[in-house]
């Protein structure tokens, strides 16, 4: 085993050096080279950490950090090569995945159902826009944090009744919130800009430190959208890193106990109400971050975007991806980002009139149908199917562990 470890070190070092050297050789513009070299090195280091099973067992937090770093670095490098449309789709999907992983946590770990996460996204989206309009010089990271806090506060307000409500009442209450949300926004029109919404004041100008890093080279960088994508991806990586830890933390375990057996949870000293409200607040904060990232990506926000339909869409894609799991949120984000393309493809293949009634409703028919079928046949979605399959292979005849129990091993 020792020999293995040392060879790994050698490989890592060689790979990192080679990557850095290569990036300087092949990129004429030095600054892009630096950016790429940093990313390549992070990728290699992250990957090599993951390759060591000792390290994986001994330091799960480091492993998760490595996974996130590597995933983000790889996708950042990839964004250099993708078209701006692809990048935008990816970023939109990534921000959606942040929302999804929050809902995944709420439902999968704490067992509560929310139909209002679209509205919580809206809280973050508008918090971001309102703050930026009043304090246009605030750094983006701070603005994102402020949006998260706004989401947490509204989540707390709605989460308080949740301590006393059982599933369907809670779902109904969040539904009422989601239905009411656009009307609430327009009621406070001096803040939210009414039905017209808000624009970000300093649209499409990257912050200085980022410009310094990216100033030369590729055209897609200077056209002003790549940095939006990249910041969104980094924020997504950070959010997922924290969530992966939360899933396995003491808090996460306590919540799962609350979900599965309230009496047992009380016996071991878990405060049921606090656990439920906390899960609700975490979920709404994540949704708020997702919404803030959307505002950031689009430079603008309108109330109509955060209508009830969005909450339904959120529920559908997380169910398809795999509720209660972390990879399920990523799958859901991708499904979301590419659903329009898939539907268009189907429309073209079947020769439907793309402007006809049927083609324009195909999305609803297909997604609604998928939602029903998934819940009937594979309630844990794509991710759940994968886990079940892997466990059958690993331990034929043995007990299949609950997928949610071991999601952290994946993340």
């Amino acid at each position: 085993m020792n020999r293995g470890l040392s060879s790994r070190r050698v490989i890592t070092t060689v790979a990192a050096v080679a990557a850095v050297a290569l990036s300087f050789i092949v990129t004429p513009s030095s600054r892009d080279g630096v950016a790429l070299a940093v990313l390549a090195t992070l990728t290699v280091i992250g990957g090599s950490v993951l390759l060591s099973s000792d390290l994986r067992r001994a330091h799960p937090v480091v492993t998760r950090a490595a996974t996130s770093t590597m995933a983000v670095s790889v996708s950042l490098v990839a964004t250099f090569f993708f078209s701006s449309t692809t990048n935008f789709n990816l970023a939109t999907g990534a921000a959606m995945a942040v929302t999804l992983v929050g809902l995944s946590f709420l439902t999968g770990v704490s067992g509560q159902v929310s139909l209002g996460n679209g509205a919580f996204m809206g809280v973050g989206a508008f918090a971001m826009a309102i703050w930026s309009n009043h304090h246009s010089t605030t750094p983006i990271v701070v603005t994102l944090l402020i949006s998260i806090v706004a989401g947490a506060l509204v989540g707390l307000l709605l989460g308080l009744p949740a301590t006393r409500l059982r599933g369907p009442y809670l779902a109904g209450m969040t539904l009422a919130f989601a239905v009411a949300f656009p009307a609430i926004l327009t009621y406070f029109n001096s803040w939210t800009g009414g039905d017209g919404g808000l624009q970000l004041p300093n649209a499409a100008t990257p912050p200085h430190w980022l410009r310094a890093l990216y100033v030369h080279g590729t055209t897609s960088l200077t056209s002003g959208t790549l940095w939006l994508t990249d910041i969104t991806l980094v924020a997504t990586g950070v959010a997922f890193f924290f969530m992966a830890n939360l899933f396995t933390s003491r808090v996460g375990r306590a919540m799962r106990l609350v979900r599965d057996n309230e009496v047992a949870a009380e016996l071991v000293g878990v405060n049921l109400n606090r656990a439920r409200v906390l899960a609700f607040v975490v979920s709404s904060s994540y949704a708020a971050l997702g919404g803030a990232l959307w505002t950031f990506l689009n430079n603008s926000v309108t109330p109509a975007t955060y209508s009830f339909a969005l909450s339904i869409v959120i529920l559908s894609v997380i169910v398809i991806g795999g509720i209660g799991t972390i990879p399920g949120a990523l799958i859901g984000g991708l499904v979301y980002a590419y659903s329009t393309n898939v539907i268009n493809w189907i429309t073209n293949q079947t020769g439907l009139n793309p402007q006809g009634n049927f083609a324009s409703q195909l999305n609803g028919i297909i997604f609604g149908g998928l939602l029903i079928v998934t819940m009937m046949l594979a309630p844990r979605g794509v991710a759940g199917v994968y886990y079940t399959f892997r466990h059958r292979r690993a331990s034929p005849g043995g007990d299949v562990k609950s997928p949610s129990e071991e999601t952290y091993a994946e993340a």
Partner: protein, 299 residues
């Protein structure tokens, strides 16, 4: 008397009752499903919407208003029974989220299918009653032939449901299978059939509601016609108690009146905000509804 009837307060109360009976009917249909199968049916607006399209629009070419209403209710019965048999039955005993998600999926499919067939252009339903308010001494008072029709229909439906549950053998079986399915089965009640019947009745009540809502000439019939109404209906059901038919109806009417006053005296853009506030406050105070007989589970 005339002066009082045409006063601002009286017209707010009358307008509130007219809207409130609709919320109460939606709440009643939710309660029927909840009591029989313990499921909060999120497609409770969309299933009747579909029945209304089939009955009032598809058959509207051939028949007059009343025949179409009967057809629509029958279609509603069929949709309710079919849904329980095919979609809901496999979900009994599953985690709470499963029926929620499935019914949300069903809601989506129904709205999309309706829009694919009939487009989202509002359809106008023929009504046999004038929507124009009556006048007293040259002043309108907030009641028209149509709103009377709406209120009377609501009362008839509520009385019919009450009679069915209280005074018939069938009603007894329905209540028994909801409260104690195992015991009922031992006593020879066909519990599965009773569950189907609960959904059938509920969708029938919903269809009557949907016909009333879409005959409302402000908007006509659209695939999304019940979305907002469903939210108000749910609020009424939650405030009144999901297991209390009387409570949900009373809550519906009271909420209707309160919202009418808010719209008139505060700002009609605040209506939904106030409705949400009522919901949160009442759930904080009585988590199982104001009229609920079941004690809240203390933890």
């Amino acid at each position: 008397m005339d002066i009082f009837l045409t006063s601002r307060i009286a017209s707010d109360v009358l307008g509130g009752v007219t809207n409130g009976v609709i919320y109460g009917l939606v709440a009643l249909s939710l309660v029927l499903v909840w009591r029989s199968t313990g499921i909060l049916n999120f497609a409770q607006g969309a299933m009747p919407m579909m029945a209304t399209y089939v009955g009032m629009i598809a058959f509207g070419h051939f028949f007059g208003y009343w025949i179409c209403v009967v057809i629509a209710i029958l279609v509603g019965f069929l949709i309710g029974a079919g849904t329980e048999r095919v979609l809901v039955r496999p979900l009994y005993g599953k985690p709470e989220i499963n029926p929620v998600v499935v019914m949300v999926g069903f809601l989506t499919v129904l709205e999309a299918v309706a829009a694919a067939i009939w487009s989202s252009t509002p359809r106008s339903l023929t009504t046999p009653f004038s929507p124009i308010d009556f006048h007293l001494g040259g002043k309108p008072f907030a009641l028209s032939a149509f709103s009377l029709y709406q209120i009377v229909t609501a009362i008839v439906v509520m009385v019919a449901v009450a009679v069915l549950f209280r005074f018939t053998n069938l009603g007894l079986q329905l209540r028994a299978s909801a409260l104690a399915p195992e015991v009922s089965r031992l006593l020879g009640v066909r519990v599965n059939r009773m569950l189907t019947l609960g959904w059938t009745l509920s969708t029938g009540v919903g269809t009557i509601t949907a016909i009333l809502v879409s005959s409302n000439f402000f908007t006509g019939l659209t695939p999304q016609v019940m979305d907002g109404i469903f939210a108000f209906g749910f609020i009424a059901a939650a405030v009144g108690g999901l297991d209390s038919p009387v409570g949900s109806i009373v809550a519906g009417v009271v909420i209707g009146i309160i919202l009418q006053f808010v719209g008139d005296y505060v700002n009609s853009n605040a209506i939904i905000l106030v409705a949400l506030f009522i919901l949160i406050v009442s759930l904080m105070a009585r988590p199982n509804g104001v009229f609920s007989v079941v004690k809240a589970r203390r933890v």
